[in-house]
Symmetry: C2
Subunit: 303 residues, 2 copies
């Protein structure tokens, strides 16, 4: 199997855009008819069906999807079975699947997470191409992930600067003349460089909130070998221009995530008027195409 | 339901010790006969049965257990079903169940994790009394956990200073004259104080590696209202004296975890000679009793 960075580059080139659709199923936001019952098993079944219908819409448009583990975990073991179905379905469509689990631990426990999630089935039991990972435990906690990712054509995205309002509480603390997120970014860059392939990018990337465009610009320079995964577009307020600055001249090196603004477009503004719940799929498709167009326009490309 | 801190205090008083048994099922360490097959479903079944047989041994001796999510996740959806069985079994024995998941995310996603795990069933779908949480994302990411914990008689343990050799890479960086872990500890203390009950401890605790006894002493002073969860005893090299310093005069305020040294005692040194795999339960019981006795001795109590 090709290295993760090369597969990602190929997927972005094939689809002609760097959009990641975040699969965040929320019981109170789904269109009517998906959930028949209040139990976790009924909700999990609805989540699985909804996400797979979203894949019917976006699967041919975007290179990657990012299931959010928390919402599936919220349905207990039945939710985890639903997560597996969604991952399998996305992988069967040749989408890059990045699980947003923000996992990490120490030593052999970190190795267990890496083994669990990284690599297409049957290399791993869950079969993900990528996983988000938390750096607080230190560099030794990341090594098992780097090892598994390299061996299985998978990748990780390390939290560097997150998109939430309170991310600065610890991430912006200044040590040795630079913020903590900059220290983490330096470690990510060294791991990305170590694993870099022909595209110039490595198996270790970074999560950087597009809601902090100035920090993003600086972090792009610090991590030239790292794929950046950018949350914050759309619902959280980041613009296409904020995100486009992270892409290289070939349109590679960054992925731009949108979750709610795509999944639940049918509930929002203009799309609600035009489509409503009955035609939620068309709202989702229109929102995806609009995001792709906005990113192209921000890079001065014609859509 | 009583607040978490009070239930924990009651459990420690009842059992007369602060020992937490870490439930870390590893396929290559289990006694023979638990796993019949190589598939994740067979391994998961073995994990569930082994952990429940461990509970038969330690359930009457210790106040709490800490299942490690990673090892169950390593068996895919079947592993998550096994995790649920183990949590339910431990809860039915009136053990305090702390899931070691090191979860966190932002905003409504953090809220989903909190809702998923915190509180006995049916308040939450997984039914845990406590959950380990990673602080990197900032103080706002912790709020949903504090809220759910307070509402449901549950608690969280925030990673402050972890037990691994590389924990210093980021946690020891000095900002504003003190290390990052100290900044995190100050936040934990303020949340612990805000939620403190009659025992003087709150619903927000901290994970502090007993492998760093000097830092532990300092952190105990910084967080007088926080229950400390101490990994590192036994297999990782921390001593009973290292841990005992974190307990208050009543023997409360800290939990001491041991995983491998208890679960797999039958493979180790003296216990291997005396019991071996055929009598692994007796090895596990002897190792648990020895740990309890060592902690009592370190506090100058007679065992």
């Amino acid at each position: 199997m090709l290295p993760f960075s090369e597969r990602l580059a190929q997927a972005v080139r094939t689809k002609g855009n760097p959009v990641v659709v975040g699969l965040d199923p929320r019981a109170d936001s789904l269109p009517p008819g998906f959930i028949d019952g209040n139990g976790p098993a009924e909700i999990a079944r609805g989540f699985s069906r909804f996400c797979r219908e979203v894949l019917d819409v976006v699967g041919s448009l975007v290179p990657a999807v990012k299931p959010q583990a928390a919402f599936f975990e919220q349905c207990g073991p039945a939710g985890m079975a639903a997560l597996q179905e969604v991952i399998d379905d996305a992988a069967s469509r040749n989408l890059i699947v990045i699980l947003d689990g923000k996992r990490n631990d120490i030593g052999s426990t970190a190795a267990a997470y890496a083994d669990a999630y990284l690599g297409r089935r049957p290399a791993s039991v869950w079969g993900c191409d990528g996983l988000t990972v938390n750096p607080y435990l230190g560099d030794d906690s990341l090594e098992p992930f780097v090892e598994a990712a390299s061996a299985r054509g998978a990748g990780i995205f390390v939290l560097v600067k997150t998109s939430n309002p309170g991310s600065g509480r610890f991430q912006d603390l200044v040590a040795d003349g630079r913020p903590l997120y900059q220290h983490v970014a330096e470690m990510v860059e060294s791991l990305a460089q170590r694993t870099a392939g022909g595209s110039g990018y490595g198996a270790v990337g970074a999560v950087v909130g597009a809601t902090y465009p100035r920090e993003l610009a600086q972090l792009r320079r610090t991590m030239p070998h790292a794929w950046l995964l950018l949350p914050g577009y759309g619902a959280q307020g980041a613009t296409a221009a904020d995100c486009a600055q992270a892409l290289d001249d070939a349109g590679l090196g960054a992925l731009v995530n949108s979750s709610r603004a795509i999944l639940y477009a049918y509930r929002q503004g203009d799309y609600r008027e035009r489509f409503g719940a009955a035609r939620w799929q068309q709202a989702t498709e229109a929102a995806t195409r609009q995001m792709i167009a906005e990113l192209r326009a921000a890079r001065g490309e014609s859509s």
